[in-house]
């Protein structure tokens, strides 16, 4: 179970302080059984590889992938798009 500081607030639905910033509170992740089920099948090796990259490297890799995907889609017959 992962804990993190959440941005919602139980007493005020806006979750905001008077100066417009977000309130701190603890939220438990992983309490959704569907999410927990999906998490078992996550390929963490891909994620760990990405974590060792810089933000710039991750962004460039994603852009390359998206551009390649666009090219591939235009190469497919229309009925398969």
């Amino acid at each position: 179970m992962i804990k993190h500081a959440d941005i919602a607030d139980e007493s005020e639905s806006s979750g905001l302080t008077a100066d417009g910033t977000l309130k701190e509170m603890e939220l438990e992740f992983g309490d959704d059984p569907v999410v927990a089920c999906f998490k078992q099948d996550v390929d963490r090796s891909l994620l760990i590889d990405n974590l060792f990259r810089t933000y710039d490297e991750r962004a460039r890799r994603m852009n390359e992938f998206l551009r390649a995907r666009d090219q591939l889609q235009t190469a497919l017959p229309i009925q398969l798009r």
Binding site: A5, G20, N50, D56, R58, A59, N63, L66
Partner: protein
Amino acid sequence: MAADLEKALSALVPAGVKFIVIGGWAAALHGSARSTIDVDVVYDRSRANVHALVAALQPHAPYLRGAPPGLPFAFDERTIRMGLNFTLTTSLGSLDLLGEVPGGGTYVALLERSLEVDAFGYRFRVVDLPTLIHLKRAAGRPKDLEPIAELEALLEERRRLEANNQLPPGA
């Protein structure tokens, strides 16, 4: 057209527009292996920023995504101020301009839950990973359940590597 963050940044950053990247691109920047279809940003609703936003995007033919052609849509300051969230097609790619997001509020509210990153030669803000997970949960969309699982696994791995001082600088 691809969700080209580089092109969106090339218009927004030099113009001084205040925004925070959220959504699929934020996930990718944090290390998600999933692809995305548009660029989602939460923009500052201040008058000066709306002015900068309109000036930055007007040359790129912004139009309402999915709307029939020929509607009298004017991408100007009045339109932005009268509205809030806009899903657009532009010559830069699909771009979602969000004045407010469920569970996250406004640009100002999200500011302290974002970090400054460098990519494509631009410096800009992206929502932090725990908050990104929260925003996806708050959106309440069934299609996000699998991406949420991946983001939570990503957060677990990041914290594990950080705890062991295994992450290189800038990662």
